[in-house]
Symmetry: C5
Subunit: 293 residues, 5 copies
């Protein structure tokens, strides 16, 4: 996630540079053909470009809305992971009268989930090795859904603890509710990951933006003449910027600068949890070049 | 669900080919009549096509928004089925101290629900036969609402288990809450299936798109001349693409490539559940030609 | 609710026929006055009809969005009634170890609610008489809010049963939670019924559509001439269709073909419930001429 | 809340009469200056009025959307007050084995909340005096937040009752959950009341509408001539109507005809509650001149 | 938060004065170059300014929508803090039979959270020192997440109280649920604070607004002549106002006049809570110059 505004603008401009250059060259070609070689049918100022433009913009706006909502939904569900892990850890100390291994396990769960969503094997990672209890590490080896396995083991540990300490069933039920809430948030994150944005919203806008940019100069060359590349570039940049917004946001769990900063967030959570049981914690992760990862 | 972007674009273009060809021929006819046979009243450049176009686009955008929200709502509620089945299975092992038949039953429930939503008899299916306990298969024979019957039997099994093992009422209540949450998600899926998109959003857009495409060339032939088919095809393609987006998404439980990949999702869930009790599981279902079913 | 697409389109066209005919005659009058009687000030092609049109369309789109959301919110809350009645019935058999009268009472509750929302006296109805236990029928006689009375009696029956069978308080609380969820869904349905769509969204659009249709031909007659009725009818039909969408959907509990098919849905629920206790049930209600009631 | 459609339209037209008259006079002045005194620079037909208009309309649509959502959110949260008060009353009779004073107290709570939201002292009101138990009336004297005080006293009464009758903790917890749900709904209503619509949405639209109406005739006088007032009034009426929709809805707890009919709703609730314990109730409040208060 | 409408309008106009002046001077330069120095290519009336304008407006509308929803989401979650703190305090007196220190602790929690969200050290503040119990103040010294630490200590105090007074587990679970709800609301507020509005929505609109304002006079100078600055200023003001709406709302926890009035709200909550246990409270905070802080 880009947290530095100036850097962000530079990003957008850099990404737009190449396609805008190509568009500019194409615009020049059209103007030269029309003005210099006098190919008169290159001037088609009556093409319904305003209608096409507004159709495209409305469609892209809707697409971007959808992509942004996906992104924000992912962020919100990750927030639920954070909140419920904290609540679970509070319950371990208060209701279960202290059980540091459970707090470590839930901190490890967050890391395992983060790597799972990025498509990586959590067990290769030093963060997971550091905080997740060994017997859970052994259990999840080879499982298809590792975070689900961690949650399952945590449920077992809670039940054993409840039996050992004769905890009341009602407060046990309340702890189990938190585990179910975590399972719901995890499921929602997996849903967003496994259901890519509908094909109509991911490929069609690109295709339509390209076609529109190609016909833009034909519609302007008659009236704008040598200023065609300017007008065309302006409109083209708007369309490209709109297109990029949606495509940047559509995959919130990628390794891209626009994705959710899952490592930064997990580390913050780890510190909140392990501080309470007096364990050593990793240090917070600072943004690199204005980007949180 | 189409998961391969390039394939998806090809799909859209293929589907648009036939109607675009017809539109092209119609456009040519209009141009020939106007230019060659000089039927002057074929040129009606003052038809308020921009107004009609923007009305249609705004309406279609709203319709597509609604259709997409239905689709995403269906996906989210299926996600709730997944999450709660996992939580239920966790509870069976932790709170109920292990009861593999209940885990098998809930994995079977997901299959029964998937076939029910696709309008098929679940009992004919090999997946259901493989995982659903026999006494439940017998019970749901002939029931109008088979998944509801499975859930009812699971509730009975839980109560018997609770009585047998003297489980505390509060944690029993927590398990029952999960069953009610599953019932809520099932009800929401049935609601979406049984309430088709309002007739105004399913038939009217098609009718309006057709009319608009028919009058398009009349409004362009005067100014664009022999380029009319080009301009008309561009605008027509935009309208058709917008129309298709909504109609593809409106029935998320169909057997179409745009529907929810319920078999793929149910198999994933089955693996997550049965792995925990050491049962053999089916293998994950890979996409076929870029499409998940 | 109209479930047959072709029938639905016919409905829309039929409803539009009369106003379109009137608009056509009015258009012809304007053209005749302008062309034949040469009343030159009838041609006002500079009227900002595009601006007026787009304002009206944006307003109507927003109105329709609101109306559709009301309709869908009503459908969703009815869905909650269905789901929670099923869960309640499951609890009666599992947690309360069977109590067929409670299942009958909750099936009756759904009928009473359906008639209450349509503004009818539930006690006159054969469905209610058939399934609702007699002592509840007697209790709700003369009550202002009959479904609320049924729910109250069900709560009493549950408490008596809990006391008699020494059911644990925690699972009693869970049953009571379902009753509160039903009360919430009922309250939401009453809210939608008792709060009509804001007056600004119900009357203003009609008024504005009429005014716009009246001035349409004046803005077109100069440029379209004898084709004015065609262009005006097209635009007019679009506006009327947009208007109708919202007004059809705004009252989801009416006796209209566009309202929620409450009888069909309640019968489905009744079958799901009574099948479980082996009672005779009514048969499912088939759509009549493509319409569910 | 206006419940009579015809009356509602009359309301809108009446409210628009004065500003439309002023606009009409202004339009006439502009036409006279341009046509009669030949002040040629009064005709500025190239002012980008279509662009300004569509910007304004999109902004207003968004503003109205926001205002409507506030209004509907307020209505929904009041609905939650109603539902939960009913559920609480059901619990008093079933779980607590009857306690009429608690039912009276919760009916009184709704009145106290209604007057609190309208900014009035609840204790001066005859409805509150009639239903709210005396000891609660004494307690809330001088409190800053009276409904919160009533809820606090109800919580105390419930706990005493639970202790006296040895009610199980789990069902006590369920009753307490309902009180917390009521507290949440009350908090949401206070939030809407205490957070006016952002200043950008309440004052800016008025200012922009006025400016636009002032420049409207300049942009039309050249082409429409003596018909300018007609065209200008049409467009001006649309803008004013859009403006009014939002400003009518923005304060749902005012004493205006567009606000929520809190007295009518509270009385309905009172009847539902007191009927169950056999108390005399006030009669339902009929709309006055098509308006519910 | 600005609560005085007139002041709010003045704010908007003041903020717009400087950029509008610059735009005005730029407009004059363009007109002088075109009219006085006759640089003919300064007149580019065919630039597709209407298309660019409507693209920009649609994009900005979407951005503002997003920013407003963030703001309102933050306000709603702060509302949940308020409601649950009240419910917690009610439970302390009713279920826990009175424990004034817990009420003080939860009032202190709200202050600590408010300062935490504004990025300040809560322990330096007189409000926190006044209400938060000393042992909690000592505990949170040096913690990275101070409100989380307070909540943790409150959880401990509740458990000790429950053990000492032999409170039933089910009602203990209900109190713990409220603490988890507070943790969820806190997490949501931190999420909004730590996830700035996407870079695409914060920097791109500013950049695009500037570019559009720069080219505005070129597109108008040919037709509007010396009135160019007027038309350009009108359109420019609209764009700037739209831009400002979003940027004012995007950071709801800043120290700006447009941010949430967290001190005012926390003081209100403190009064509601401490009044119930008879503690002295601070006085409500009045708006300063029409602004709540």
């Amino acid at each position: 996630m880009i947290v530095n505004a100036k850097r962000g603008l530079r990003f957008i401009l850099q990404d737009s540079f190449k396609p805008l250059s190509i568009l500019f060259i194409w615009d020049m070609l059209v103007v030269i053909c029309y003005r210099y070689y006098q190919i008169s049918w290159f001037g088609q100022s009556e093409l319904p470009i305003a209608l096409i433009g507004s159709v495209l913009v409305l469609f892209m706006n809707f697409r971007n809305n959808t992509a942004y909502n996906r992104w924000w939904e992912a962020r919100s569900h990750w927030g639920l992971i954070t909140n419920n892990c904290r609540s679970f850890s509070r319950q371990c100390t208060t209701i279960l009268k202290g059980h540091p291994d459970l707090t470590r396990a839930i901190a490890g769960y967050a890391y395992v989930l983060a790597y799972h969503l990025r498509g990586k094997d959590a067990l290769l990672n030093s963060n997971v090795k550091r905080v997740l209890p060994i017997h859970i590490q052994n259990y999840i080896k080879g499982l298809r859904n590792q975070p689900n396995g961690v949650l399952f083991q945590i449920g077992l540990m809670v039940t054993q603890e409840v039996d050992k300490k004769h905890i009341d069933g009602a407060v046990h039920a309340q702890i189990d509710r938190i585990l179910s809430d975590i399972a719901n948030a995890q499921g929602a994150l997996e849903r967003i990951k496994n259901t890519p944005l509908s094909i109509q919203f991911s490929t069609l806008p690109y295709f339509l933006t390209e076609i529109t940019c190609v016909i833009l100069p034909f519609s302007m060359v008659e009236t704008l003449g040598w200023f065609t590349p300017l007008g065309s570039a302006l409109v083209g940049f708007l369309f490209m910027a709109l297109y990029k917004i949606g495509s940047d946001l559509q995959n919130p769990f990628d390794d891209s600068p626009h994705a959710l900063p899952m490592l930064t967030m997990t580390r913050s959570l780890e510190i909140d949890l392990l501080e309470q049981i007096g364990d050593p914690t990793g240090s917070p992760i600072a943004p690199v070049n204005g980007i949180q990862w």
